[in-house]
């Protein structure tokens, strides 16, 4: 069967190649018009965005830190630079969010959750978050197969002939946290651009925290240091942008990541001494080929090969073998083909298929050696049905075949998506319905002693209504967005962390989530001041509605009811001032809503000031940053204290 997998794969890749070559020969008319029309029709879902400017105001090192400010997101953060960070959206677990890196999904079939602390922000130009469907011109089927999508877009500079652009920066801050990164882009010919990133971070992560010996008010406290929380990570990336001609483009990406970190383990009363380590290596090759075959037909292919190695060490585990040494190797072969066709002036169809094969080799913990073959196919229709009215709908078919030592399991599923969109002047309204499911992960199904092969997929039904309105008043530009949503989850699989790396799986039955996201933006330009403020408020109520559950009617763990985030920036001449604020309401660390399980509400504010100066065509920039200004002691995850007040200094040159 393994051979059959490979054969099928080669076949599909082969077909793709043929198709691509054919399209190369096609001389087409200017298709730019078509693209813009398609984008006009297809950008129908509300998309939250962190722009380069926002990212600068937030001034963090990893994508995981930045995503906290998107609004409607909850980032589970284990603290420190090396602490695992995963994002959950609108009360759904992290497994429901697809993470795209330059248009192609990042896969982690072992845990199903992508650790966003692995992705350095230095190479990122935009971060987009879409509820419902993320619809770029030609979406991949995997991005349509998730409740929400987070898209990380790296920088692609516009370059003149034979010109070079680059950025180099170094920063140093509290707890011996150092980062340096380099970005270089060069146009070799009218058709070729090469760009590269090099990024390196190091932190000893020793930060002070206050351990409280219980939840009561008069309980004793002790000042301690977070130990074994160090991180060294490096990330290198090479991108090649090649334009065969105006209508045929190719993007190639080679990506490598290495990290070696201490896992400080959860804080335990009376005893701290973790020597756990996590070592991770990830490499992938990714190719995106786009062809405007005719003014009505666009074709895209995304292909990827991904290799991911993780090793978890715990010398203090008394297994008679000198401790734990668990190794996990994941491999992925992925291919996406998408065609978009304009049937009439106001009607577009897109057919997209993803096929991938993924395997996990982890002899010490998952002896079943699972492999998964998946094929996801979606037919998308975008129809401008009447003036101001648009309908977008798709039917997604998913097929999964799991093979493991001792058996196999397959799954077929049809998932519908419908959205209605109304746009008039500066006002838009969109309503979508989405029925989607997520497959249980390899950990959930095959983990030794813990996994359950009969685990059912987790099904979600989403209904969401979004209104946006934009207007200008004098020198001010306002944008507002109000979303109301309702999510139903059936057969929910809940992960409760036992330590950073191990989770215990629970089938939670049924969950009902309803909530509201309110986003306001103000921009004001009265020279020499340029001001920008983004305010997000989210209310979410995620409740256990399984009648037989012991915690029926109670709130889900790690789902706060109120979330507020704010980004403010002010430019004045050569100065830029950035401020961020965040408030997260109380939440529970276990399903039972008892006082003992409460994690306190917290507010975290940061600020930075930077000065930039051009000198001989080089822009120099210096940034002074302070995080957690009020030195608030808080935990996002139970027994994982976060950093108190900390500082950093950054120097950057742009040329």
């Amino acid at each position: 069967m393994k051979k059959q997998f490979i054969l099928l794969f080669v076949l599909i890749l082969g077909c793709t190649g043929v198709f691509a070559q054919d399209s190369l020969k096609t001389k087409t008319l200017d298709s730019v018009l078509v693209v813009s029309k398609q984008e006009d029709v297809q950008q129908r879902t509300s998309v939250s965005k962190l722009t380069a400017k926002d990212i600068q105001s937030i001034n963090v090192l990893s994508v995981g830190e930045a995503v906290k400010f998107l609004g409607g997101t909850m980032v589970k953060d284990y603290g420190g630079l090396g602490g695992v960070k995963t994002v959950s959206v609108r009360g759904l677990s992290a497994n429901h969010t697809a993470i795209l890196y330059d248009g192609v999904s990042l896969f982690d079939n072992q845990s199903g959750q992508v650790d966003l602390s692995k992705y350095s922000i230095s190479s990122v130009s935009n971060i987009l978050m879409a509820n419902g469907n993320f619809t770029p011109t030609l979406p991949t089927a995997t991005s349509l197969a998730s409740a929400s999508s987070l898209s990380i877009e790296t920088r692609k500079p516009s370059l003149g002939m034979l010109s070079t652009k680059g950025t180099f920066s170094i920063s140093y801050g509290s707890f011996n946290t150092a980062n340096s990164n380099l970005f270089l882009a060069h146009r070799f010919s009218s058709k070729d651009i090469l760009s590269t990133y090099l990024d390196m971070s190091n932190s000893d992560g020793r930060y002070p925290y206050v351990l409280k010996y219980g939840s009561g008010q008069n309980f004793q406290t002790e000042e301690l240091m977070r130990e074994n929380n160090d991180l060294f990570s490096t990330h290198a990336e090479l991108n090649w942008f090649h334009d065969f001609n105006k209508n045929n483009t190719l993007k190639l990406k080679a990506y490598y990541y290495y990290s070696n970190r201490g896992l400080p383990a959860s804080v335990t009363l009376y005893y701290q001494n973790s020597k756990q380590r996590l070592y991770n290596e990830n490499a992938f090759l990714q190719a995106t080929y786009t062809s405007y075959i005719s003014d009505k037909l666009i074709y895209k292919n995304n292909a990827k090969f991904d290799w991911n190695f993780t090793e978890y060490l715990d010398p203090h585990y008394f297994n008679g073998m000198g401790g734990v040494d668990d190794r996990y190797t994941q491999r992925l072969l992925y291919d996406n083909n998408a065609v978009s066709f304009q049937h009439k002036e106001n009607l577009f169809f897109t057919l997209t298929n993803d096929i991938y094969h993924t395997s996990l080799y982890a002899p010490t913990t998952i002896d079943a050696e699972p492999e998964r073959l998946a094929s996801l196919t979606a037919l998308v229709m975008d129809w401008n049905i009447a003036k101001h009215f648009y309908i977008s709908a798709n039917a997604l078919h998913s097929f999964y075949l799991d093979q493991y030592i001792g058996g196999d399991k397959s799954k077929n599923h049809f998932s519908p998506f419908v959205s209605l969109f109304y746009k008039r002047g500066n006002y838009t309204a969109s309503l979508f319905f989405k029925d989607i499911f997520r497959m249980p992960t390899f950990n959930e199904m095959y983990y030794r002693q813990m996994g359950d092969r009969n685990l059912k997929p987790e099904k979600t039904k989403q209904i969401s209504l979004t209104n946006t309105y934009e207007f200008s008043y004098r020198d001010f530009f306002f944008s507002t967005e109000l979303s109301l949503y309702h999510n139903d989850v059936k057969d929910k699989i809940v992960a409760i962390p036992r330590n950073v790396f191990l989770w215990s799986m629970l089938n939670y039955g049924m969950v009902e989530i309803y909530g509201m996201d309110l986003k306001c933006g103000v921009k004001a330009d009265f020279q020499p001041f340029v001001l920008s403020l983004k305010l997000n408020y989210s209310y979410q109520h995620a409740e256990d509605v399984e009648e037989s559950s012991l915690t029926y009617g109670q709130l889900l763990p790690y789902m706060p009811e109120n979330l507020v985030s704010a980004i403010f920036s002010m430019d004045y001449k050569n100065f830029n001032f950035g401020f961020t604020g965040m408030f997260v309401d109380k939440r529970y660390s276990l399903q039972e809503n008892t006082e003992q399980n409460i994690l306190k509400a917290y507010a975290d504010c940061g600020a930075n000031i930077s000065y930039s100066q051009m000198f001989k065509k080089i822009n120099y920039k210096f940034t002074l940053d302070i995080k957690n200004i009020f030195d608030v002691q808080y935990e996002v995850v139970r027994a994982y204290p976060m950093m108190g007040r900390n500082f950093s200094l950054k120097a950057e040159i742009n040329f």
């Binding site: 219980g214 309980f219 009363l269 009376y270 005893y271 001494n273 008679g320 003992q596 139970r638």
Partner: protein, 370 residues
């Protein structure tokens, strides 16, 4: 300005006065004035609850028999200190209660009123948690089995570790004393699937290992009755558990038996046990078995779980013959303790903290006295 200084000095002198008054009090007496003081003359049961890993929510609850009320997390309320991470066993030594807290590397001693007396740290020379699991006591010493392969000997008077001995097996769990010998089950539970299968016999007069007795793999619970020792092996959880009967360094008998946990009624010489069949959510089978012959027919006291019991977890035989069965529910929410008469009739139940394990009566007087 002058006035302010005057006020300050007045304030300081007042402070001084208060300080003198406080220091005049007996420090012992002062410490007793607190939450626990209200329960000085209240009888009832202490319930040691494990809590859930990573949550630091181990607890000792107190059930007042007079008022039929439960004070969850009594220990931390009495001491303004949490018990710690994953408590695993509790015993009564004279008028004190000793608890092992595995994740916190601690043996915690509290007086009969729940007031903390001492936290004894159980780490090795490198400062690594030995992971204490169970304890027993005899003649002024408490013996603690530790997952790192050792038994730690603690003096009850000095409350200090006086000796450490390797059991010559892996991951010691349950232990019991009979005939001045310590029997320790080496479970090997952390090296799944390569379990250990030995019981170490330690001579308490020399504190050295006499011999190792082979039983079925994964021995966990050990209890004694007179000169007899009973060891329950869970195997690899796929087949039936096995109960072994040991006397004077010899394996007397062993039987495959549907048994999840057991305890012994020392006055009757009866083993009380139950069995959880994971495929049958009703299975309970609270039964008794003669200590003298583990092959004899057992007596079924109660076939199905009483209403409200979801996951029978541990059985405790009280000094006065009452049977307390703890209910772990779904292991993440509040638990419950069910009391039965020695004939297996349900008496009452009460809610507890997460994962109740051990139930011990606060004082030895019978329930009727309160």
């Amino acid at each position: 300005m002058k006035k302010r200084i005057f006020n300050l000095s007045k304030f300081l002198s007042l402070l001084l006065l208060v300080g003198v008054i406080i220091s005049c009090e007996d420090p012992e007496e002062k410490r007793e004035k607190g939450f626990a003081d209200n329960y000085e003359n209240v009888n009832g049961f202490y319930v040691m609850c494990e809590g859930l890993m990573g949550q630091n929510n181990s607890a000792i609850d107190f059930f007042c028999t007079g008022s039929n009320s439960i004070i969850t997390d009594y220990f931390s309320k009495a001491n303004n200190l949490g018990l710690g991470e994953t408590a695993n066993d509790m015993i009564k030594v004279g008028n004190t209660f000793w608890t092992v807290v595995t994740g916190s590397a601690a043996v915690t001693v509290m007086n009969s009123n729940g007031v903390l007396e001492k936290i004894i740290t159980i780490t090795n020379a490198q400062g690594v948690n030995r992971q204490p699991r169970h304890l027993v006591h005899k003649d002024g010493y408490v013996y603690v089995s530790c997952f790192d392969g050792n038994v730690v000997k603690i003096s009850t008077s000095s409350k200090k570790v006086v000796a450490t001995l390797s059991t010559q097996g892996r991951n010691p769990e349950g232990l019991a004393i009979a005939n001045n010998k310590l029997y320790v089950a080496n479970s090997g539970g952390l090296s799944y699937p390569n379990y250990d299968n030995s019981v170490s016999v330690i001579d308490l007069s020399t504190f050295s290992v006499d011999t190792l007795i082979s039983v079925r793999i994964n021995p966990t619970t050990v209890k004694s009755y007179g000169d007899n020792v009973y060891v329950l092996s869970m195997g690899d959880y796929s087949g039936l558990p096995m109960l072994a009967h040991i006397r004077n360094n010899e394996l007397v008998d062993s039987v495959y038996i549907k048994m999840t946990d057991f305890d012994i009624d020392q006055s009757l010489g009866l083993i009380y046990y139950f069995y959880v069949d994971y495929a049958d959510s009703k299975s309970f089978g609270l039964s008794t078995l003669e200590c003298s012959n583990i092959r004899s027919a057992s007596t079924l006291l109660m076939k199905d779980r009483p209403e409200g019991m979801l996951m029978p977890y541990h059985v405790n035989v009280m000094e006065d013959g009452l049977i307390a069965v703890t209910d772990a529910k779904n292991y993440t929410t509040s638990g419950e303790v069910f009391f039965f008469t020695s004939a297996g009739e349900k008496m009452f139940s009460f809610k507890t903290s997460v994962n109740p394990n051990k139930v011990i009566k606060k004082r030895s007087e019978s329930l009727a006295n309160n």
